[in-house]
């Protein structure tokens, strides 16, 4: 049966509804079969794989910690060797940070963000799948290294020169840098996905101030990832150039400085703590209103506090470097900033307490975990304030006091809230409840074990026990304290094991009805994934708690009385709304199951993994394969021209099926990705000027091999790249006016100019004979022009891609998303070329 294009379907007719459901079911049905099921891209499937993998990483890294605790149970123990111990603590920290905490946030967000927003999926489901496969490949690569005695052993912070010296650091350092860089790329991909999801895929009517708090936190945290990870990627790049090619970025003998790494690492590393902590607070912001059965008090306060925490967290990194001998004035500033971040945290905690105070509390298992987490986190927060005071930190820094502090913060502020979330959201995902009895037993084991394990570490640290020691002398008098810590750690682990047992018993438990906790937020519309489509119709939102506040809401959604109740054309469709006020803008069609993301992740992973083993030709081949797969992905899956310009979206509104420029989700994804890219570039420029500030003579005397690149070639390169940029803009404008052939010519010339610009950039240091292994100055100049040349090369690929799309009829004056998106790339390329070439061309004359 078909519905005439200009009439509304009759939602009162059960036969109409059944036919709609049949079509939705067909369109959204997951792929089946032993292999094909892994080509799924729907957030329900990918989110569950992602979550389970991250949980597996938690268990693995936890076992590493247990081995360490067994070694430290008594003084002068010899259970494991120093070498093994160093691998254990490095991998434990690195895995918990990079393979558990951040991926877990992304996993849970992929799983529940669409539900929170009443959306059917995320805007780029294939990107989520790509992120997952990258995480799996990189994670197994890094974690597996311990079985080959090749795990990184320089600490999770990888300080050079210890980690860069070939004599002291083996292949583990490369596995860390390259394996985790690959995962950082996938983290940024997920961040882009989540930001666009929150900004553009909200249901109609959901203005920013009606968004569930979890979505606010996702937005804040994803933006933080976008700004925090790129400096680390820049650092990784410098690090690997030193490891693989002997470019002396951190070698003090050749003008480098090991402190540059520390700055880049902690500009990432401190926000990272809040990247881990805020999503867990977000879980409370969903759990507490449900079990207080009232709206959360102080919604604007909490949003401001979350944004404030995210902002402040970028101004604290130096408190990890209080002992490096910096001037007291900067220590005072960072000390003050580090203490100040406690204020927004306190606001959030007291907003939760006030909500509980005002409501009636239902003592469920998730709330028990919440209470335990509050008790632990408050202590961790207060010891955090203590170490923010520089004089105290000079004593506590790098001792077990800090080990205690960070575990109070991360287990109280992240792991226990995740268990609260697990008990809370398990029914949403599986339609089964976990056992309250086992949950409570596990909680008390974890709570007692945790405090028994970690509280004594405060004392052993102040009694002089440094961190990262594989054993300690009996003379320190910390043997008893350490034995207590070990017992506590094993009790904690036993508690986690009880939860695992509970999860394993779940399939044999009774199904329960939907929304078992009587929650008020949108995700509980879900019928526990019986239907892959998510919501029966995309609702119109008028409240923060629509299930409580909007009368007849559930029935209206279920009867398809809101938006997109049908899939009459046989496509997976999403509502795209405006960023601020949730006005419907477009019906976007998204990709379905495909092996492309998996193949792209395998090929790109190959680049990183093969480079680790110095197999450069294979890595290059793998890189070309990745490029080919990604182009195929974009050719077949993005900016597809719809069969008609617009469609009825329900409730009498008609929406376009295609958008380009800032109205489209793709434009936003490109813009956000480039913000991250520009941040990494800023990290490199920071490096250039950092060397200038630490050296009286930078650039150094113009000896052979280290005299600057001059101004001529940098200016030629700049002129060519700016010309390419201007021509790309011209192509966008002329294409929109219908002058298609002019636009095509402009794109072709733009590609030539951009490519020539990249080469001219390389010609500067090449012609001047700069030797990057001689001194850090030629090295950083080379690195900057290589950065620009590589970006110019990608720019050429994009310009030629748009040209090919135009020639193939896949880009027209109306359907012109491609040229809009590559113009965004062009803006960023032009800006970074401008900065690079002015700096390398003219700064030496000023300095």
């Amino acid at each position: 049966m078909s519905v005439a294009a200009n009439t509304q379907p009759d939602q009162n007719d059960p036969a109409v509804r059944a036919a709609q459901e049949e079509r939705l079911r067909a369109v959204w049905s997951p792929p089946k079969g032993l292999f094909l099921r892994w080509t799924d891209t729907n957030n329900n499937a990918v989110g569950i794989w992602y979550t389970l993998t991250a949980f597996g990483m938690l268990l693995f890294a936890g076992v590493l910690a247990l081995i360490m605790r067994a070694q430290l149970a008594v003084p002068e123990n010899n259970l494991v060797s120093a070498s093994t111990f160093n691998q254990l603590f490095t991998l434990h920290g690195s895995m918990m940070m990079f393979l558990f905490a951040v991926p877990m946030f992304e996993a849970v967000s992929v799983l529940i963000l669409p539900q929170l927003l009443g959306a059917r999926d995320l805007p780029f489901p294939r990107l989520s799948a790509f992120g997952y496969w990258s995480f799996l490949i990189g994670g197994v690569f890094v974690a597996g290294s311990i079985f080959f005695d090749a795990a990184p052993d320089g600490g999770w912070f990888m300080y050079p020169p210890l980690s860069t010296e070939p004599s002291t650091a083996g292949i583990g350092a490369d596995i860390w840098m390259l394996g985790l860089s690959f995962i950082e790329v996938s983290s940024i991909a997920a961040a882009v996905e989540l930001i666009v999801g929150v900004l553009k895929c909200r249901p109609p009517g959901m203005r920013l101030n009606l968004m569930p708090l979890y979505a606010w936190y996702i937005l804040v945290v994803a933006v933080m990832i976008l700004f925090a990870f790129p400096p680390l990627i820049a650092g990784d790049l410098l690090f690997e150039m030193e490891r693989l090619l002997d470019w002396p970025f951190f070698d003090a003998k050749r003008g480098g400085d090991p402190l540059l790494w520390q700055h880049l690492f902690w500009i990432f590393g401190h926000p990272e703590v809040y990247i881990i902590f805020l999503p867990s607070i977000a879980i409370f912001a969903m759990v507490i209103p449900t079990f207080a059965q009232r709206h959360l008090l102080g919604y604007p306060w909490i949003v401001l506090a979350a944004v404030g925490t995210g902002f402040l967290s970028f101004g604290l990194w130096v408190h990890h470097m209080f002992a490096t001998g910096m001037p007291n004035i900067s220590l005072g500033f960072f000390s003050a900033a580090s203490e100040a971040v406690a204020i927004p945290t306190a606001v959030q905690i007291f907003a939760f307490i006030a909500t509980i105070w005002a409501g009636r509390v239902i003592w469920s298992t998730p709330m028990l975990y919440g209470a335990g987490s509050l008790a632990i986190f408050v202590i961790g927060g207060l010891t955090g304030v203590m170490v923010a005071a520089a004089p105290f930190d000079w004593q506590a820094h790098d001792t077990y006091f800090v080990v205690a502090h960070l575990h109070y913060v991360l287990i109280g502020g992240s792991v226990l809230p995740l268990f609260a979330g697990l008990y809370y959201y398990w029914p949403l995902v599986t339609a089964k409840k976990l056992s309250d009895r086992l949950g409570r037993i596990a909680f008390w084991m974890m709570f007692v074990g945790f405090n028994l394990g970690f509280f004594p570490m405060h004392i052993s640290g102040l009694m002089g026990m440094p961190r990262r020691v594989y054993t300690y002398s009996e003379a320190l008098g910390v043997g008893t304290l350490n034995l207590l810590s070990t017992l506590g750690a094993f009790l904690f682990a036993a508690g986690v094991a009880v939860v695992v047992v509970d999860l394993c018993l779940s399939p044999w438990r009774q199904r329960i009805p939907r929304n078992p906790w009587n929650a008020g937020t949108l995700e509980w519309l879900e019928f526990s994934h019986q239907e892959n489509w998510g919501v029966r119709s995309v609702p119109l939102i008028e409240s923060r708690y629509p299930l409580w506040d909007q009368p007849g809401f559930l029935r209206q959604v279920d009867e398809g009385r809101y938006f997109l109740p049908d899939a009459e054309e046989g496509y997976r469709e999403l509502m795209i709304t405006s960023v601020l006020d949730g006005r419907p803008l477009q019906v976007a069609r998204i990709g379905g199951p495909t092996p492309i993301p998996m193949l792209a992740a395998i090929a790109l992973g190959g680049v990183f993994i093969l480079t680790t083993y110095h197999l450069y030709w294979s890595a290059l081949a793998s890189g070309l394969a990745a490029l080919a797969v990604i182009l195929w992905w974009h050719w077949t899956g993005t900016s597809l021209i719809p069969e008609k310009p617009e469609k009825h979206a329900g409730l009498g509104i008609v929406l376009p099926l295609y958008a380009s420029g800032p109205a489209s989700s793709g434009w936003w994804a490109m813009f956000i990705t480039m913000i991250g890219d520009a941040t990494a570039f800023a990290g490199l420029i920071f490096g250039y000027f950092f060397f200038w500030t630490v050296h009286a003579d930078f650039p150094p005397d113009p000896l052979p091999g280290q005299a600057g690149p001059g101004s001529y070639w940098p200016m030629v390169a700049l002129a060519l790249i700016l010309a390419g940029w201007a021509l790309t803009i011209a192509a966008r404008e002329t294409n929109a006016r219908g002058q298609v052939w002019f636009a095509r010519a402009a794109l072709a010339v733009a590609a030539a100019a951009t490519g020539a610009g990249g080469l001219a950039g390389l010609a500067g240091p090449w012609r001047a004979g700069l030797d990057p292994t001689l001194h850090v100055y030629p090295a950083i100049v080379w690195l900057l022009v290589i950065w620009i040349a590589a970006h110019a090369a990608f720019g050429v690929v994009m310009q030629l891609f748009a040209l090919a799309r135009s020639l193939a009829g896949r880009m027209t004056p109306v359907y012109d998303g491609d040229v809009h998106n590559i113009t965004v790339y062009g803006h960023f390329l032009a800006l970074s070329a401008l900065i690079t070439f002015l700096v390398i061309g003219f700064f030496p004359r000023l300095a």
Binding site: A73, I146, Q293, L382, L462, P466, V469, V478
Partner: protein
């Protein structure tokens, strides 16, 4: 994990023994028993004393705040719905969440900032240059107007006088930490960091490397002796003298086995300063940077296989050295007092 030690782990035996000591040990540790050779609680310098006061003050405040917040949460959970209205809730957030912490943190900042001030130093003050090297400490005393004296792995300071340390490293980052004297300062290749201290109490203490620096990071400690000024001056004058004229078989073996290719013994062998200076090694309190007691047996063991004591140590092992040769060298070294 291929290189697991074949020895039986001592964990299980220790657990039962440890359980008995738990109650007693925990009580002692908590009730002021936190003193020890390497403890921030056993302060013997004005910097560490001032930080210890800050520690106790902050701990007391943190305890009160923790109890207060948890009591409030408990109270909030017990209060029936409706007792706290919207306005009351907003007051809780404003006063307890925003204003209260701001006031407390400002107070903390104001009280902790002055403690960051560095002690003033004069041209007459003793300077001690310390280099952190994998995995030992090169120590050079630079008294004002006097002769410089190099030693290793032990630091002596005069009570009541200001001492300025100049801290650096030729290899990787280390961190110089004497908990009883002052906070730690990193030793970073390419930089020299200063640390100014003044000891207040004579005694024997311990310091350690606090920045992870490789395989034997855990084995990089040192003894610290705070002495009365007159004793210190006498000791420094002694330390400045070359080694006494000993003629023992060990002295020849020391040359024969190539030990002097790395170690200096002033007056006996002065070819190289790659390894620790051993001029008065017999008078030091410990061996291998705080790893073993200074005994002849320990010396022999260390000489024949340093890596068994300190994994990753750069000193080559002499596994094939006959026991009697090792003992002879040990006897010689022990006589260098």
């Amino acid at each position: 994990m291929t290189d697991r030690n074949p020895d039986q782990p001592a964990v299980f035996k220790a657990i039962s023994r440890g359980l008995l000591r738990l109650a007693y040990g925990a009580a002692v540790a908590l009730l002021g028993g936190c003193t020890g050779v390497q403890s921030t609680f056993s302060a013997f310098g004005i910097e560490a004393e001032s930080t210890r006061a800050l520690t106790w003050g902050m701990t007391a405040a943190a305890t009160v705040i923790t109890i207060g917040v948890l009591w409030l949460a408990w109270h909030a959970a017990r209060t029936p719905a409706g007792r706290l209205d919207h306005q009351g809730g907003m007051r809780v957030i404003l006063w307890l969440g925003a204003i209260g912490p701001t006031v407390l943190l400002t107070a903390l900042l104001v009280s902790s900032l002055p403690k960051m001030r560095t002690l003033p130093t004069g041209a007459d003050d003793l300077r001690i240059a310390v280099g952190g090297e994998q995995f030992w400490w090169r120590v050079r005393y630079l008294p004002a107007g006097g002769q410089s004296v190099e030693t290793a792995n032990e630091i002596r300071v005069p009570v009541g006088r200001t001492v300025a340390f100049a801290l650096s490293s030729p290899d990787v980052i280390h961190s110089f930490w004497i908990p009883g004297l002052a906070g730690k300062v990193d030793m970073i290749p390419g930089r020299t960091n200063d640390l100014v201290v003044r000891a207040t109490q004579a005694g024997v203490y311990r310091g350690a490397c606090a920045e992870f620096c490789g395989l034997s990071h855990a084995r990089m400690a040192f003894d610290v002796v705070a002495m009365e000024p007159a004793d210190f001056d006498r000791w420094l004058a002694d330390a400045a003298r070359p080694a006494a004229g000993i003629d023992s078989p060990g002295r020849h073996l020391f040359e024969e086995y190539g030990c002097s290719g790395c170690h200096t013994i002033r007056g006996h062998a002065e070819d190289s300063t790659i390894g620790p200076d051993l001029t008065h090694v017999g008078s030091r309190r410990s061996l291998g940077a705080g790893t073993l007691p200074m005994t002849r047996d320990a010396l022999s063991r260390f000489i024949r296989n340093p890596a068994s004591v300190k994994p990753g140590a750069l000193m080559p092992s002499f596994k094939d050295m006959p026991g009697k040769d090792a003992d002879a060298i040990s006897n010689y070294l022990a006589e260098l007092r």
